[in-house]
Symmetry: C2
C-alpha cells in the first residue's frame, strides 16, 4: 500500500451540528455596544440592518446554537474540510515538528467566508429580506456572500475597496458571474462615499469606508439589510465550525497541538479557529493560540483597547475592541482582507485577558513562506493565509533551533488563485 | 440526518493501480507513425525527445500498465476525485435526468492535466533528464507540468501561445510561482518561432506552433526532453485513471450511464474518460460516448482522417489522425485548450470506427451553460469543460422533451478560476 494518507477526513455525519458561542465563557464580560453618540444603544437599533436571529446571536448568553438544516445542507457541499499533514512543507523547512493545515480553501468561494455568508443569507431570507449590501476588501467576503445570496435567492450589492478592485479584476468577475452588483468604494451612491471622494479624488478606499457605504444604504431601505464578513459576535460564532472540526480531527489523529495559529483581519477566522479550544486553555491547558496580523495594519499588537466605531463614517455602534482608530487608512498591502482598523470584540477580549497572543508578520515573510508552501504543497495560499503560514513556519524553525519539535496547526483560510497578481508584485 | 451526500467518494485504497492501454483492443490497428518525410519512422527517432518508458508506452501491446509508486503517491495528493451528483444543476435545467460530473478540477493544477504531467515528469527524471520544454494553450497543461517538474526536481521552460498568455496573465503568474520559465510563442528563441514572426509580427500563435518551438529546443539539447499534454498514446494512457474511477464510482452508486461526455481538444481528457468503457461498448453495451469539441476548431466533426503532422513546422512524426491541417490557425477562442488542429490517433480511430461520436458545441452554449453551472453548483468550469457541460445539458433537455430521462456523466476537466477574464468577454 504505497499511498500516503496525509489528510484527516471527518465523515459527513461528523459535521458539527452547533456553533460555539463563547460570550458566556469569556474571562470578563464583553462591554455593551453603545450608540454612535456614546449613549446606551437603543432597543431595536440593530434591527434596521440585521435580521432578528442574528441580533439574538450577537448578544446571546447561550453557549450552543443549533445550525439550521438548510445551512447544514449548504455546509455539506464541502464540509467537513480536511486537516492536512504538510509533510512536504515540513521537509522544505527541514523541521521535525508536525505541521497541519485546516484547508478552508475548498469552499465554493475558496475561503472560510462561506461559513458565515450562508448562515447570514439564510437568516435574512427567513426574515423576508430580498436584498443585501456589503463591503469587501480582498474580495473573499464579497465572493462568499454573492454565492450565498444566490443560494438563498437574494439580490446583492457589493462595495469593493477600490485599491483591491484594481489589484484583483478576477474578484469582480467571479462576483458578477454569481449575479452580484459590484461597485468600487468610495462610490458616488452614498454620502460617505461622496465625502471621501471630495476630500481625496484618488482615495484608495478602506474596509472601514466601504462598511460605511454599505451600512448607509441598508439603513435607508426597508427591503435591504447589511451583512458583515467579520468582527461581530454572530460572524465569529458561525466560524466556530472550523475549530470544532479541527478538535475532532486532532482527536482522531491522536495529536495534541502545541500551537494553533490563524491570521487576523477582523477576527472571525482567528476566533472561529481558536474559540473551541479556549475553555480548556482558560482552564490551564498548554496550547498557544496565536493571531497573525500584518505589520502594516497592527490592530492587536499596536492598537489601543477601548470603544471605537466599526466604520469610517461613524455610522456603526461603538464597539469595545482593539483599534488603530476608525479614521486609520491602512497602506495598500496585498493582503486586502487584513486591512481593517478594528478587531472583533471577542478576540480583543481574549487578547486583553491573555488567552490568545497576537504577533505581527511582515508582508515579506507572508509571501516568502507562501511561495515555499506553493512549491512544496502545490497550494497557492491567499495572502491573508500567508500570514498564519509564515508565523507557523517561523515558530517551527524556532522550535527546531531549540531542539524541541512540536505540533503546529494553522488555518489556511483561503486559496490565492484570484490573488496571483499580488504574488507578482510581492515584496522580495 | 439532514445532510445530503451528493458525492460518490472512493476510499484512497480504491485508487486504480494501473493505466488502461486500449491499443491492443482498438477496432482496427493504429497505423504506424511515419517520419516527417513520409518514410518509416527510424528506430530511435523518438528517443531524442522522450524517455524510453514513455516510448514503450506509446507503442505498447500490453493492456494494463502498472502506475509507478512515486506517481501513485503523487496522485494520492488529490485522487480519487469525487463523482458528484449535480442536483442543483438538474433543478436549474428542470430535468429529471440524473447528471453527474467527475471533478478533475481538484488536482494541484486545477485540471486533469496533472494525471499525465506527474507521470511524464517522473519517467523523465528516472531517465536522468534535468530539463523539460513544453507548449501550453490555455495554460492548464503548462501549470500542471510546472508543478510536476517541481515535484520531481526538473527545470522547465514553457512556450505559451501568445494570445492565451495575453488573455490570462494569472496563468503565467502561477507557472512562474511554481518555478517555471514562461515565454510567449512565437518566440525569438527558435527557428520555428522566428519564421512565424517574420511572416506575421502580430501572429497570435497556436498550439501547433508552440509545439514546434518546444520540440525544436528539446531535440537540440541532450539534457532536455519534450513533454506533450495531449494527443499521444502515452498521454491518453495516463488519463485513463479518470474513466477507471468513474466506472468504480458508478458501480458503487448502482448507476448505469446512458451518456459519457468529455470535451475534446487533443483527446487525452476525452480518451481518458471513455477508454475504460470502450471494450463493453464495442461488445454491444448501450452507452453513448460523446466528444464535445468547439465549433471554431472542429477537428473531429469537420477534419479529415489521414496522416498529418502534430505541429506547424512539421518537425513531429506523421500521425494517423483527424486533422484540420497542420497549418490551420484556429481563431482566438476563449477555450484555449481546445485550439488544436489535430486529434489523438486513438480517439480518431474510435471516431472512424463509430465507437465514439463527436459533436461540435458553440462558444455561446459553452459559456451559457457554464454560467448556469456556476450559479447552481457554485463551481466555475474551465471554458474547455464548459463544452462537455453544454453538451450534457443539451442532451438532458432533449431527453426531457422526449419524456425519457437518463443518466449523464461528464468530466469537469478543470476549474475556470484562472480563466475568469474569458467569462467577462464571453459571447452572449
Amino acid at each position: 500500500m504505497p499511498v500516503i494518507e496525509n489528510a484527516i477526513i471527518l465523515p459527513k455525519d461528523q459535521l458539527p451540528r452547533q456553533w460555539h458561542n463563547i460570550l458566556p465563557q469569556l474571562p470578563e464580560p464583553l462591554g455593551p455596544y453603545k450608540a454612535p453618540d456614546g449613549q446606551d444603544l437603543p432597543a431595536g437599533a440593530l434591527a434596521a440592518i440585521f435580521p432578528p436571529q442574528l441580533i439574538e446571536q450577537e448578544l446571546s448568553d447561550q453557549i450552543w446554537h443549533p445550525i439550521p438544516e438548510p445551512v447544514l445542507e449548504a455546509y455539506a457541499m464541502w464540509r467537513p474540510t480536511p486537516l492536512v499533514r504538510a509533510y512536504r512543507l515540513e521537509a522544505a523547512l527541514k523541521v521535525r515538528s508536525r505541521i497541519y493545515y485546516k484547508n478552508e480553501s475548498l469552499s465554493p468561494s475558496g475561503s472560510h467566508k462561506s461559513n458565515t455568508a450562508l448562515a447570514q443569507a439564510y437568516y435574512n431570507a427567513q426574515a423576508g429580506i430580498h436584498r443585501l449590501t456589503t463591503e469587501t476588501g480582498a474580495g473573499q467576503w464579497g465572493t462568499a456572500l454573492s454565492i450565498a445570496a444566490r443560494h438563498f435567492q437574494l439580490d446583492i450589492r457589493v462595495f469593493m475597496v477600490k485599491v483591491s478592485l484594481d489589484q484583483k479584476p478576477y474578484r469582480q468577475a467571479i462576483m458578477r458571474l454569481m449575479g452580484a452588483e459590484v461597485l468600487a468604494s468610495p462610490s458616488e451612491l452614498t454620502q460617505a462615499g461622496r465625502t471621501a471622494r471630495a476630500q481625496d479624488p484618488n482615495c484608495p478606499g478602506s474596509l472601514g469606508l466601504a462598511i460605511s457605504e454599505a451600512v448607509e444604504e441598508a439603513a435607508s431601505r426597508a427591503d435591504t439589510n447589511y451583512s458583515l464578513g467579520s468582527v461581530l459576535n454572530h460572524v465569529v460564532l458561525h466560524q466556530t465550525i472550523i475549530g470544532q472540526e479541527i478538535k475532532k480531527q486532532l482527536q482522531l489523529a491522536g495529536e495534541k497541538p502545541d500551537y494553533l495559529i490563524a491570521c487576523h483581519g477582523g477576527g472571525s477566522n482567528f476566533g472561529g479557529t481558536v474559540i473551541p479550544f479556549c475553555p480548556e486553555v482558560m482552564a490551564g491547558e498548554k496550547i498557544q493560540l496565536l493571531a497573525a496580523e500584518p505589520e502594516a495594519c497592527p490592530t492587536l499588537t499596536k492598537g489601543k483597547f477601548g470603544y471605537d466605531y466599526g466604520d469610517m463614517a461613524k455610522l456603526t455602534p461603538l464597539l469595545p475592541m482593539h483599534s488603530l482608530g476608525s479614521d486609520f487608512l491602512p497602506p495598500s498591502i496585498h493582503a486586502g482582507g487584513l486591512r481593517y482598523h478594528g478587531a472583533s470584540p471577542i478576540v480583543s477580549n481574549l487578547v486583553k485577558n491573555q488567552v490568545v497572543t497576537p504577533v505581527a508578520i511582515s508582508a515579506k515573510d507572508a509571501f516568502a513562506y507562501a511561495k515555499i508552501m506553493a512549491n512544496s504543497e502545490y497550494i497557492v495560499p491567499a495572502p491573508e493565509s500567508g500570514h498564519a503560514l509564515a508565523l507557523t513556519c517561523l515558530k517551527a524553525l524556532e522550535l527546531e533551533k531549540q531542539g524541541r519539535p512540536g505540533v503546529l496547526v494553522f488555518t489556511l483560510s483561503g486559496h490565492g488563485l484570484l490573488d496571483l497578481s499580488a504574488y507578482e508584485k510581492a515584496p522580495e
